[in-house]
Amino acid sequence: MKELAANASTNRMTYREACRQAIREALIDDPRTLLMGEDVGLYGGCYAVSKGLLAEFGPQRIRDTPLAEATFVGAGIGAAMAGLRPIVEIMTCNFSLLALDQIMNNAATIPHMSGGQFAVPLVIRMATGAGRQLAAQHSHSLEGWFAHIPGLKVLAPGTIEDARFMLKAALADPNPVIIFEHIVLYNAEGDLDPDVTSVDIAKARIRRHGRDISILTYGNSLPKSLAAAEVLAAEGIEAEVVDLRVLRPLDNATLFESVARTRRCIVVDEGWKSGSISAEIAARLSEDQFFELDAPIRRICSREIPVPYAAHMEEAALPQTPQIVDAARSLVKPR
């Protein structure tokens, strides 16, 4: 009751709370929905996203699992095929590799292999990214890898609003959907527009309009890009910031329209540069928008090293606002 009252009186919340409310809403709205994963129940979730849910919904619907990713993701796929709407949490995307066979060979292919007889309406949530000194085995950004796989939808909420509402759209989708929640964003706070009660999971979104250069980004690189656009604006460079939101399938139309208009582009991606989603985007732009470009495409990605533990090293390894600013300055002549 206390929480309901709090919800009614304020629309300001953290990204973490938005994720929690999204799960709670799904559990209330649809009795087929359940949450399972490592430490989601008694412990309240490794990033405290599911805190309190076990007490409210009970162990049937909030299920702690063994440390066995292939097993509980496989169980989730089976549950989805059998008619439930499971939400599976993988503590960090680094651990998802243990379940990669289930995700790729089962979740993504069964609808195809069964000739459409089986759908896999499964949602997998994973924490991703670096910035909290969790070192190389807990800090990587692997969403670009998953965006390689046909049959999956890959989402990357970069705002409180998307954290709050993408899950609902993901559960409504008959395909397996993976949501990458950035570990640094969990503490981000913002206001929700009271008029918004749902979001799409198909479109990129222009978060800031500008005429001189397009910064294409997602996840925790979104606030860094918006900060860079702010610095650039003071110098007379109007940067447009496009939040990809959906990494698979990519919303070509929105990206192409923006870059064709500004004619310059920087892709900011916390993944490693080689074989990254930024590589895919740069390739698509040069394939389809080559003659619109007025400057080389630039990419700002993480250093190609395991993410370091030491704070200053970790900071140096990740895309940062000054790099975005410098790249934009090199491409755009201030007016």
């Binding site: 004619r263 619109e292 470009l293 007025d294 200053h312």
Partner: protein
Amino acid sequence: MPSLGADMESGRLVQWLVKPGSVVKKGDVVAVVETHKGAFEIEIFEEGVVSELCAKEGEELPVGAPLARLTRPGEQSVPKAPKAAPEAIPVSVPLAVEVGRAPGTQAAPLASFVQPSSRPRASPAARRRAGELGIDLNTLKGTGFDGSVTLADVELAAAGGAPPKDPSSAAAPATRRRGFDPNEMRLAIAAAMSRSKREIPHYYLASTIDMSRPLAWLESFNRQRKPEERLLPAALLLKATALALREYPQLNGFWEDGRFRPADGVHIGWAISLRGGGLIAPAIHEVDKHSLQSLMGALRDLVGRARSGGIRGSEMMDPTFTVTSVGDRGAESVLGVIYPPQVAIMGFGRVIERPWIVDGQVTARSLIIASLAADHRASDGHLGGLFLSAVDRFLQEPEGL
């Protein structure tokens, strides 16, 4: 080397008025530059101390070439290029080395490792546009990333105003004489007017304005004043045009990069024919804010300096609109050619005495045919008509000017 007009490609530094160590502030005249339109005083737009003169007197330089270096207040003087380049570290340096690098050093930018190729560096968009316009990329100087030719560079070249890569490729004849050269000016006018007629879809409007009232007012105004304080009709025409432009800012500005950019102030270029032939149209700044008397003073000063030399660079760069008035020995009407990238030009013919109908009676009146040539990309005829009516309205209340 500043651009003293869209048609200027290069200029000769005639004289330095500062030397290394000179303290300068915005607006100071620092040099005299000569173009095919004559000699101009060049003002500086920054504040600081002159640290180096890059150009020698007598040297011919393309637009955009550095003339001098300036140290801003509070800045250390710029050191000469370092002898060695210890910071030229290979690009694929491991992170550990980069993090440990001494503060103040920087990895050389990636682009500097790219070998220059004989093919001109141009963006895909620039290359496509140059192909459409039949422009040779080799002749252009790039302003984009790493010196590449951008779409804007191509469009500027198409408009006739691009800085050429190298002065020897400019159209100027090798035997160019010092001083004002009517042949050079002819070429400059030819380039600007060809560009205008090639690119700008002009539309033309004309209205006959009854000048009896403003001229009568002018006569009584002048009667009480000494000859040097008297106003000419030109001052009324200019001021009325400026006030009308304030009402219709869509005619006051520039067509650039495929769209209209309104100007910040009303700086009217006043077309002045020169005694040696040719003409220039330097700006009178903020015409709408002048009183008639200060405007008349500015006009006299401008015409005097245009004919004797001494037009400032900023006066050549700043016009936002042009007025051409044929004066009392000219034709009855004039339909102007727009000076790009401006979007309109106002033309005033000679004042003529004609039978006119006022209150149902045929009577002799002093008339002037006012015409507007405007860029149809930036505005439509309806707006042009309203603008001409506004000019008429302001002229009919000369005491309000």
